[in-house]
Amino acid sequence: MTITWERGMTTVAEFLALSSALTGFSPAELRGTGMVGAYQALVVQQAGAEPLDRLTATVARGGIGPSAFGDGPERELAQAIAQLWYLGTWPGLGGSTAPERDPAFVVSARAYAEGLVWRTFGGHAPSTAAPGHGSWSHPPADPA
């Protein structure tokens, strides 16, 4: 996908800061997944550059709660970006844009494997890691 960057558009650093605020994972942890570029492009493609810019600005002002977000679509976009990071799936946006264009989908096998939800309790997405025969007998590792 080709993205034409324009003035005022959310930068990679800003997208990372936004994602970090929404997910609770540090920018370094997020960068470690290798998904930053793909996810930013996907959000712009699915939601549009302007809504992303507005959300970035809201969060940059220190708002990361539903009460800080403006109208329904802004909160929905925040939820979608968090879900993208946590699961590797894009949930689709209902609100003002055409919903039939926006069904939910798994971004890629890699995105599934990098889902953050598994890391919150020290686990791995099923089928993506081979921790070894009998590894499941031991107490769980500390969360990442």
Binding site: A21, L22, T23, G24, F25, I64, G65, P66, S67, R75, A78, Q79, A82, Q83, Y86, L87, T89, P91, A104, F105, V106, S108, A109, Y112, A113, L116, V117, W118, T120, F121, G122, G123, H124, A125, P126, S127, T128, A129, A130, P131, G132, H133, G134, S135, W136, S137, H138, P139, P140, A141, P143
Partner: protein, 608 residues
């Protein structure tokens, strides 16, 4: 006996899943020319990498999600059902459903069959399970445990079962020959199993007036672990495929090849066995003398082919076997074809442990509680096997995705969503403590639970789709209620937070009420009973060899033959039955002919 062009075979096997692949192996090894016709696509054509990619990118990771499906041979899958808001259900897949409750299992029409997606648990049936009719519910088998025992061992060798014979003898009550050792040592218990054992072993729970003693018991797996050098009288065992390394995706796909699938048996087929995929059998040809002459099938090219053989073996899954017999107007003197459809309805209960237990690791279940499978209580209510679920709430409520989505939308102090560090902390705390119990209920053979064909509903090839009428008897519902009572006590002994809650709605097509209380079931994919085995042609479809009473050279093999589905996962029993029947097929064939490629070494062999 083989016509030019290879159009006449010794044996035609319909279906390249568990039973069909095993039968073809035994008969091929004995020199017979075997043609295996598989309706579905060749699952290996696309390769395991493609299947893994399909699974990882599937939004709904259903049992069939990794596997290529054929539009000509549709398969039912779990998402075909949705519950209605006020109870009841809707079915919108391949199976037409007309019962008060849904038949909630899928199966897979592909090379390897449902044996690609199966969970890989391989417990034996208990000797008592063959005499279920003595307890007043279901039927007795025409054979007993001892008749099947040598074939259980043969199946455990072929599948490569990892288990501890001493533990199975003591905790389950299974008789084994002295000194028997499984091919591999038991698969290690999960950390959750250890936590459970600490809290439960030696305690007991009440089931009405009786008390049942608890013992966390390791489950046999057809999954590669550590080979036991003592197997096979000291010959040991060399597994095919990798060792289980904990991918935690056994259903529906094992990336390391540690789980047995029928493709492993196919790789061991003799050259006299041929496989054709995308070959949808439409009819068994029955001659005027009542013998099966061969089958018709629709091939990939859209043309109908006829193949002939001495012996025809239907091994296409319980529901597809019934469909084929009905389409062929065959084997139905007893009027039992398609009837007695059984499954394992599964009551799921779920909760949060006090501490992190590391869910979503290793095989889906590594241990269970066996004490509810036997004894006089089964006269009053369905018996059940309790699986300890290692994969959190996946089967009950879906994967953690739904918990993430829920917290994002309705979490937090104001119920409007949770973000950031608090989201991360809350998810880790909760998902890391998820566990479940899976109560697999025996279902009794009821002639009213049946598969029929209705010409108004046809698939893409114009074949009538199976119409299913399914319900749970009060005996099963009493079993489910008893299981819930056991769950309540287990949760108490564990000090766990019980989060079980059944309510009508899309996620629970199997919702029902019993004596004023809400319940819901899912299903284990263990369809059985549609060509039931018995000791009389008046009341059963196949004899003890799975040979149709009405046609001396037509066999119907698989779980469809089982008179009771018992409480054990049925694949191992299906495999043992298939191996036993294959011996009989060999005798039938010998009685008419000698194999064409009789090997010299074979001539002095010890024939059964």
């Amino acid at each position: 006996m083989t016509a030019p062009g290879g159009r006449r075979w010794d044996v035609i096997v319909v279906g390249a899943g568990f039973a069909g692949s095993l039968v073809a192996k035994v008969l091929g090894d004995r020199g017979w020319r075997v043609l295996v016709l598989e309706a579905g696509a060749g699952a290996t054509d696309a390769g395991p990498d493609r299947a893994l990619e399909a699974y990882r990118t599937a939004l709904v990771k259903s049992p069939n999600s990794p596997y290529p499906t054929s539009p000509s041979a549709p398969s039912p899958d779990v998402p075909d059902l949705t519950g209605r808001p006020d109870g009841g259900y809707r079915a919108h897949g391949y199976l037409v459903q007309r019962g008060p409750l849904p038949y909630a299992s899928g199966y897979l029409r592909a090379n390897g069959g449902t044996g690609l997606a199966w969970t890989g648990l391989a417990p034996r049936m208990h000797p008592e399970d063959f005499r279920a009719g003595d307890f007043g519910h279901g039927r007795n088998w025409p054979i007993g445990y001892q008749d099947l025992e040598p074939y259980y061992r043969a199946a455990e060798h072929e599948l490569g079962v990892a288990a501890d014979a001493d533990e199975q003898r003591e905790a389950v009550g299974l008789p084994f020959p002295d000194g028997y050792r499984f091919p591999m040592r038991a698969i290690p218990r999960s950390h959750l199993d250890h936590v459970m054992a600490e809290a439960l072993d030696g305690r007991s729970v009440r089931d009405r007036e009786a008390r049942v003693r608890l013992r966390v018991t390791t489950t046999p797996h057809a999954r590669n672990g550590v080979p036991d050098p003592g197997h096979d009288g000291g010959a040991g065992y060399r597994p095919d495929g990798g060792r289980c390394v904990g991918h935690a995706s056994c259903v529906p796909i094992c990336p390391s090849g540690a789980k047995y699938t029928p493709l492993r048996t196919q790789a061991r087929w003799a050259p006299s066995v041929a496989l054709v995929t995308d070959a949808v059998v439409t009819r068994v040809r029955i001659a005027a003398n009542g013998r099966a002459g061969g089958v018709d099938y629709l091939a990939h090219d859209g043309r109908t082919h006829t193949v002939e053989a001495e012996l025809v073996v239907l091994a296409a899954h319980a529901i597809e076997n019934a469909k084929l017999l009905l389409l062929s107007d065959a084997a139905n003197r007893s009027d039992q074809v398609g009837r007695n459809l059984m499954d394992h309805p599964v009551l799921l209960t779920w909760g949060l442990m006090k501490h992190q237990i590391g869910p979503y690791r290793g095989p889906g279940s590594t241990s269970g509680l066996e004490g509810f499978r036997f004894g006089p209580a089964r006269a009053r209510r369905a018996p059940f096997r309790v699986e300890i679920g290692n994969w959190g709430w996946t089967w009950a409520l879906g994967p953690p995705d739904l918990r993430v989505a829920e917290l994002l939308r309705t979490g937090g102090p104001d119920g409007r969503g949770l973000f950031g560090a608090e989201l991360r902390r809350t998810l880790g705390d909760r998902v890391g403590r998820e566990f479940a119990f899976q109560f697999e209920m025996e279902q009794d053979a009821d002639p009213a639970n049946r598969v029929t064909l209705d010409p108004r509903h046809r698939d893409r090839l114009g074949l009538p789709r199976p119409v299913v009428h399914y319900d749970l008897s009060d005996w099963v519902k009493r079993g489910i209620a008893a299981a819930k009572g056991v769950s309540d006590q287990l949760m108490g002994l564990l000090g766990a937070e019980d989060r079980t809650r059944f309510e009508p709605g899309p996620a629970w097509p199997g919702y029902f009420e019993h004596e004023g209380r809400p319940y819901a079931y899912r299903a284990a994919g263990h369809g059985a009973g549609t060509h039931i085995m018995g000791d009389s042609p008046a009341t059963s479809v196949v004899d003890q060899w799975q040979r149709c009473w009405d046609h001396s050279n037509l066999y119907a093999v698989g779980c469809g033959s089982m008179p009771t589905v018992a409480t054990s996962n049925p694949s191992l029993t299906m495999a043992a039955l298939a191996l036993r029947s294959a011996d009989r097929m060999h005798q039938d064939l010998l009685a008419r002919h000698r194999p064409i490629r009789l090997k010299r070494a074979f001539e002095g062999a010890d024939l059964p």
